[in-house]
Symmetry: C2
Subunit: 254 residues, 2 copies
DNA sequence: CGCGCCCTTGAGAGTAGTCAAGCTTTGTGG
DNA sequence: CCACAAAGCTTGACTACTCTCAAGGGCGCG
């Protein structure tokens, strides 16, 4: 566990933009707003602010690699990140997306495991990170941070269990619908029935999140697009009829 | 959040055996050995010991119910627990098993979520539990406990992601093999090539863990049993050829 | 003895994966 | 500004894995 301060070594991040010195003002302001620090002692938040390494990441750049030992805790300041796991046989899935304010790369941090997937910038990002030792110190100063992390890891786990059940028991179409609803909940903006997903999604991404093939996902989305249920514009999905999607997700039509 | 001490109300546990007063000696000794307390301050462990509610649970008894608010943290003293999630459509899966020394019911604890499944005693159990407030106090006294919980939740999450990938990309047979290997790792005893799984498993359990139907699981296990790869005796699985199973799991034969 | 639970096995059908081809859009370099 | 290449999307036809439906056997327990 090297480096303690702001002398950011190029340990994990390729493609960091050096035009950002390390502590952008806008970025540090939003550390308050992060899940993991909500309700923490002001001193701990200040410490988090001053020890954070903040980096600007270009789209599709890798933040950490599958199989590498987990040495840092990450959180999204702006943009979004997707975690992609590849199997030995070439099979790929998207484990999850991390949106603004969410942490990622925590699951393997305190148990000696290796990262279960590549973390890739789904769009241009600012990413904050802390070394394991720094995070431990922060938790020591304010255990509330650990509680928050337990809460969000738990949420991921519950969600993952839902996904497992859907994969095991539901039709492709239902799973794709669920996938969109989940993403709309996590990173959507708009009203009750119209919602736009702020993460760029190719067909392939939808497929790998829903656990199906590009072809099947494309067929379903094209069909829904045809009947006005949703629309795609430059890899951004807009849902025009949430109730109908919900009905499909619940197996309403067959 | 009611009750604070040892006046155990029948809040969650049905079928508790009243012949156990509350603090068995053997049970409290093994609190030391639990993951969640490993490395914690002795005072915190003592506090954990003195505040734990310990209950004896009969096989197939429900410890908490899917959809109920999470109010307590649980850990297995002896026996094993399975967490079963049921969908609105009747589809069921086994989210995970908790074996000796492992905690469960934590995922929904600090985020206001509800339990994602029923917790059922897979065999006669002794279960320790603490209220949310008690656990918070323990963590305050020794943040190491929170770190341990983050570690084990993280491990569950990594495992769940692996399961998702397997469900999305692999054949039934491979998934069943993976399931057995995972269980052998978690609750197995024996050597390199011969291993017995100490959790009782019906065909149905294997199916719901691997994400397939009773029938498909039965066919695969019967075939493997026929060629001496494994054996079943009274719902207990013994694997006789781990390398061969591993080969199947990796798609070795097709 | 009969009922319930668990396991096995067979036959048929359908969802979704695989293979294949062509279209649209985007970006790059001449 | 156009040509070409690369990436992404759509669609069709075929195949097969696995689910569904169905029936029957073994075992323990009331």
């Amino acid at each position: 566990m090297p480096q303690t301060g702001t002398q950011a070594g190029p340990l994990v991040v390729a493609g960091a933009d050096p035009s950002v010195p390390g502590h952008g003002e806008a970025a540090t302001a939003s550390i308050h707003a992060m899940h993991m620090f909500s309700g923490a002692a002001p001193a701990a938040i200040e410490a988090a602010r001053s020890t954070a390494r903040i980096e600007r990441i270009a789209r599709d750049t890798r933040i950490f690699a599958q199989g590498s030992p987990a040495r840092r805790a990450f959180a999204v300041v702006t943009g979004s990140v997707r975690i992609v796991q590849s199997g030995a046989d070439g099979g790929q899935i998207i484990c999850c997306f991390a949106a603004r304010g969410e942490s990622f790369g925590i699951a393997a941090l305190f148990n000696g495991e290796r990262q279960s997937g590549d973390a890739l910038a789904a769009q241009p990002c600012e990413i904050a990170s802390w070394s394991q030792a720094q995070l431990l110190a922060l938790i020591e100063a304010s255990p509330r941070i650990a509680i928050n992390l337990i809460g969000s890891l738990g949420q991921c786990l519950l969600e993952s269990h839902n996904r497992v059940r859907e994969l095991a028991t539901q039709r492709c179409e239902q799973r794709i619908a669920h996938t969109l609803l989940r993403l709309a909940g996590q990173a959507g903006c708009g009203g009750e029935s119209h919602r736009a997903i702020s993460i760029p999604l190719r067909r392939r991404d939808v497929a790998e999140t829903a656990g199906t093939t590009l072809h099947t996902a494309s067929r379903a989305l094209a069909a829904w697009e045809k009947c006005g249920l949703l629309a795609t514009r430059e890899q951004h999905l807009m849902i025009h009829d949430m109730p109908a999607l919900t009905r499909i997700a619940h197996g309403g039509d067959n």
